[in-house]
Structure formats: structure tokens, C-alpha cells
Symmetry: C2
Subunit: 147 residues, 2 copies
């Protein structure tokens, strides 16, 4: 078999590199965004759904419907949340992955604080009055770009 000649590490005149982000950088990015993705397992299948979220302390919070597929996957000892962004014109991107226990928020003081926080209205509409919390246990991220 003959494959076209190419150097996988180089393109556009630069070298593609991947760098790990520090914990501080990951949290800064998490606090800078308002939409991310919740990843969960439903009947053996990984499902990834966008959510509007807010950071409070070391936790991620978002609203969902009480009878949807996300609610059915919570609580879980290991849930996943992810954000990323990319710029195709610069062959550049970054991503942050958060893992930790998820739960339904039932503490009244916390709910009062969350409802009072500035947070984007869930774009999907409907009654999304269930707050989900992901307590960040592991946070990692990386930045890929050209040198």
C-alpha cells in the first residue's frame, strides 16, 4: 500500500503541539464560559448534551428537567463535564474535562444562592427547575496549537 507522503507533525509551516493546562488555567476557562457539555451513560451508550452552566466554588451547576435523560443519570459517583473552543484559522484549540460526583441540589441555602446567581436562561426552554451539581474531583485540560 502506498500512502501520500506527509509529515503528521507539521503543517502550515509550524509544528503542532499539545500542552497540558494547569489547574488554575482550567478553572479560569471554566469560569469564563457559560455553555458546556454533560457526558453520561444511558443504556450502555455515552450521551453528550450541551448545557448552560455556572461555576460556584469547586462545582459546576446547570439546570435541567426533572424527567429528562440527564436527571435519569444523576446522582452518579462519576459524572463528566466538558468545555472546549477552537479557532480553525489558527489550527488552535483547547479543552477542559471535569470529573466528579453528580447530584441533585436539594440544599435550600445553596438553591437560593444558585437561583440568585447570574446565569444564562437554559436555551432549550421548558421548565428546567432541577439544579444538577458536579463536584469537581479531577480537572484536566490541554491546549493544542502551532508553534
Amino acid at each position: 500500500m502506498s500512502l501520500p507522503s506527509m509529515d503528521p507533525g507539521r503543517a502550515d509551516g509550524g509544528l503542532h503541539v499539545a500542552e497540558e493546562l494547569s489547574q488554575e488555567q482550567c478553572w479560569e476557562l471554566l469560569r469564563s464560559k457559560a455553555t458546556g457539555r454533560f457526558g453520561f451513560i444511558e443504556q450502555g451508550r455515552v450521551v453528550i448534551l450541551p448545557v448552560n452552566y455556572v461555576v460556584d466554588g469547586q462545582s459546576i451547576y446547570f439546570r435541567t428537567t426533572g424527567d429528562g435523560s440527564i436527571a435519569g443519570a444523576v446522582p452518579s459517583p462519576e459524572s463528566t463535564f466538558q468545555i472546549d473552543d477552537s479557532r480553525a484559522d489558527r489550527s488552535e484549540g483547547w479543552s477542559v474535562l471535569v470529573s466528579g460526583a453528580s447530584s441533585r441540589v436539594e440544599d435550600e441555602d445553596l438553591l437560593t444562592r444558585l437561583w440568585g446567581k447570574v446565569m444564562a436562561e437554559p436555551w432549550a426552554g421548558g421548565a428546567r427547575n432541577l439544579f444538577i451539581r458536579i463536584q469537581a474531583d479531577r480537572v484536566s485540560g490541554r491546549h493544542v496549537h502551532l508553534t
Copy 2:
């Protein structure tokens, strides 16, 4: 407990709605983008990683390293691929979720065609010479926006 008064279905003077995308719309969006996310399970945890991809027929293809965590999750009878985009200024977004069997591409004719296709160089760099294929079995998508 007293919560601030709000109507979860309305904001910005419009009604938030979620609409299912047709199969045609999902594939049109899949063909229009070049970066998406591969979702898989690693030691019981859902992992979501961005990848540069290409569509060929009813399959999604992307390159990865032969010894990375993605390669370790393939082949699988049920893998997940996702794309989305959003516009915060319009409280609007869409997402497409693809499920299906994943495999390492070993067919020489197919490899020749894939290497010949115009495809963004993986931004993460390094030797990413393993092509992963996800044969789309289930494709769904939705569009959330203000009326």
C-alpha cells in the same frame, strides 16, 4: 423556601424552544464542520475529547495515536461522536449526536481514500496515523433558540 420569581420558559422577550433536527439537517451539519468530540468510557468514566474529523459516506473518521486513550477504547460496538455550536448573543445553539460501532480502519483502499481526502491536520500534532471509523447507526440533533 422562597425562590426568586421567574418564568423558566421566557427570557429576552422570546420563548425558548427546542426542535428536533431531521436526519438530513444532522448530516448537513456534520459535513459542514471539521472539529467534533469523541466520547468514550475509560475505567468507568466518560471521557470527551475534541478531534478533527471528516465525513465519508455514513461514517465519521478521525486520526489519533496508536497508543492513546482513544485507541484503547476502539473497537467498540457503541461509540459516540458529537458536534455543537452556539451563539450566546442569540441564546441559540444546536447539537448533533452520532452513535455507532467504532473500529480501526485497516482496509487499504479506504485508507488510501481517507489519506487523499482534504482533512485538517490534527491540531494536537504528533504521529496520529491511526484512522478511527464510527459507522453512524443512530443520528439525532436538536436546535434550541428563541422564537
